[in-house]
């Protein structure tokens, strides 16, 4: 009887192990799905504040995780502002002052145009598997989709969030929800990804809502209005000279 129980438990354990991929494997699949050689997209960033909402539209060209160039298109106050990211450096060009300034050091921790995102959130291009130890903690339903629930704990010291929880669609390998925690365990931010569409053969969320859980408000909504993968992007865009053009 004892041997039979052990055998059944072993079979169950092995079968479970074979059905669910490992946490690192899930993250790798997510990265494969989400990353591309390059992409060009237009987006709307809707910042919900206490006194109403404002929408900022922009067009972004990016190559991998290391290079990106964004031009803000509206509202008129922000139109013409350009942002260039090269590796770990970030420059912003403001047309009103006709000046390019580098955002570095502690300035990176400031909010991007009053949104729930910081420059640092946009700059951290390290792969999650490089800086976090991932653990599969179960399977849950998110927005009627089956997801793997992963818990990521920082394995390096210089990370903004000590712990994360990510819910990844079991079929499409797209993250549908992410929660960011403080060292004390306090939930700090929640990101919800939705409107997943198949674009150029890959599943991609086109609406992302960033919500700072410590303050009131509806957070910041990021909508991709158009996206193209693996385009030909001129090399000169990723130079400081392109900011003033």
């Amino acid at each position: 009887m004892k041997n039979t129980t052990i055998l059944i438990l072993s079979i169950l354990f092995l079968s479970a192990f074979s059905v669910s991929p490992g946490a690192d494997e899930i993250l790798k699949k997510v990265e494969e799905n989400m990353s591309s050689e390059n992409r060009v997209f237009e987006s709307e960033m809707i910042i919900h504040g206490r006194r109403g909402s404002r929408t900022i539209t922009s067009k972004t060209y990016s190559v991998g995780d290391k290079q990106s160039f964004t031009e803000y298109l509206s509202p008129p106050r922000e139109a013409g502002t350009k942002m260039l990211k090269l590796e770990s450096q970030l420059w912003i060009y403001s047309p009103s002052t006709d000046r390019t300034i580098q955002i570095s050091g502690h300035l990176l921790r400031q909010s991007v145009m009053g949104s729930d995102l910081s420059y640092e959130d946009m700059m951290d291009d390290r792969k999650l598997t490089e800086i976090y130890s991932a653990r599969l903690i179960g399977e849950e339903k998110v927005d009627e989709r089956n997801t793997y629930a992963l818990e990521l704990t920082a394995k390096v010291e210089d990370v903004a969030y000590h712990r994360r929880k990510v819910w990844v669609d079991t079929e499409r390998f797209v993250p549908l929800r992410e929660e960011l925690y403080a060292k004390s365990g306090q939930l700090l931010k929640r990101t919800t990804l939705s409107d997943v569409q198949k674009i150029d053969g890959r599943w991609f969320p086109t609406v992302v809502v960033f919500k700072d859980m410590l303050k009131q408000g509806d957070g910041t909504e990021f909508r991709m209005t158009s996206i193209q993968f693996d385009q030909e992007i001129p090399e000169y865009l990723f130079t400081k000279a392109a900011l003033k053009q």
Partner: protein, 389 residues
């Protein structure tokens, strides 16, 4: 002496006109003393409060610390060396660790400065002993301005979010252990005081500090890498504000003084015009022209002496009463970012009174002399005849 006798006789002879001149000048005299007394009282109170609540006998700053640049705070900290620790243990220095954070009162995000101070320190008047705790709760002290800003009171809880030395976010709910009332906004507005060891633990900076406040026993001087900032340096901003306030006030009472002096000037011009026969008689009796100029100049000066006496008569009790009950500052003045007590008590120093007396007498003498110079050019015969020249 003759000049003074004649001056008093002529002045009292002028009746109501004299009284008006003296009254206006005395008013300017009293206002000058009162205004400068208020500024001096404010200066003394602000310096005393700033020393007692914020700067002590000077401060030792980390080389990267810039109080006006909050982005400098994350890099401005260093461990305390053995000699510094010994001075801290002797109570000569009080270490303070400073970092930036966000507070979330009623779901609003507000940038705040966290300051860690030892609950056992006695150098500053901040009631840090309220930060003593035995349990796990994180006690915090805030000033009345901060309490008003974030709508918090003693016993309330407040959620804080900050980054440790590696930039990793952390969050904690603190309990307001006390709300202190002080006149120094630079230790109050936008600031939360925590126990030093707790803040060191929260930021991952054990044994470190951003600044050290010197107490009475501290000998002065820097202790590498710490740079010593003395009281003169730390009070320089306050001194500049006081000077600018003095300058602004000088314009107001300067105008008042000019009005009074103008009245004396007019009176002098009129009396020289009307008393030409008298002037001619003086010269005919053997006085030199400049002696006559002297008589008229002294007449003008006597206005100032009488004004000072009148000012002392009614201004003395008024100024004494004002120094006793103080001058209540409007509530909004506490938000101006400079040290202002709820009530300012004017201080009238001997130097201030002597300066004002000298100012009034000198200026009155000058404006009396200017029209009197005309006498020196008078033809005595024509003057005797009363011919207009």
């Amino acid at each position: 002496m003759l000049a003074f006798k004649l001056a008093f006789k002529n002045i009292f002879g002028a009746g109501f006109r004299t009284f008006l001149n003296i009254a206006v000048l005395s008013f300017a005299f009293v206002i000058i003393i009162w205004h400068n007394g208020v500024i001096d009282g404010w200066n003394q109170q602000a310096r005393r409060d700033t020393i007692e609540w914020e700067i002590g006998q000077g401060q030792l700053w980390h080389p990267d610390f810039d109080p006006l640049d909050y982005l400098s705070y994350p890099d401005a900290h260093a461990p305390l060396s053995a000699p510094i620790k010994a001075l801290v243990d002797e109570g000569q220095l009080a270490p303070i660790l400073i970092t930036q954070a966000s507070a979330f009162p009623q779901g609003r995000m507000q940038g705040v400065i966290l300051k860690g101070i030892s609950p056992q320190q006695h150098i500053l008047k901040i009631p840090s002993s309220k930060l003593e705790t035995s349990g796990d709760e994180a006690p915090a002290l805030i000033g009345t301005r901060m309490a008003k800003d974030i709508k918090m009171k003693e016993g309330d809880q407040l959620l804080l979010r900050w980054r440790d030395k590696n930039g990793t976010f952390d969050a904690l709910e603190i309990t307001i252990a006390g709300v202190f009332n002080c006149n120094v906004p630079t230790i109050d507005g936008g600031q939360i005081w925590l126990p030093l060891e707790r803040l060191r633990e929260m930021t991952g900076l054990p044994g470190e500090a951003t600044i050290l406040v010197a107490g009475d026993g501290y000998g002065g001087g820097g202790q590498p890498p710490w740079i010593f900032k003395n009281q003169d340096y730390l009070l320089a901003d306050l001194d500049m504000i006081i000077q600018s306030k003095k300058g602004g006030g000088a314009i107001i009472y300067g105008l008042l003084l000019i009005i009074a002096l103008l009245a004396i000037f007019d009176t002098q011009v009129l009396s020289i015009f009307r008393r030409q026969k008298e002037i001619g008689t003086y010269i005919a009796l053997g006085m030199t022209r400049w002696q006559v100029v002297g008589i008229f100049t002294v007449e003008g000066s006597v206005y100032s002496i009488l004004a000072i006496l009148l000012g002392a008569l009614y201004g003395g009790p008024l100024l004494w009463y004002s120094a006793k009950v103080g001058w209540a500052m409007p509530a909004a003045s506490t938000d101006m970012g400079i040290s202002i007590a709820e009530r300012i008590y004017p201080v009238y120093g001997v130097g201030l009174i002597l300066f004002t007396v000298l100012l009034v007498v000198l200026t009155a003498t000058i404006v009396s002399f200017l029209p009197a110079r005309k006498i020196a050019r008078l033809n005595p015969t024509d003057a005797l005849k009363g011919k207009v020249q």
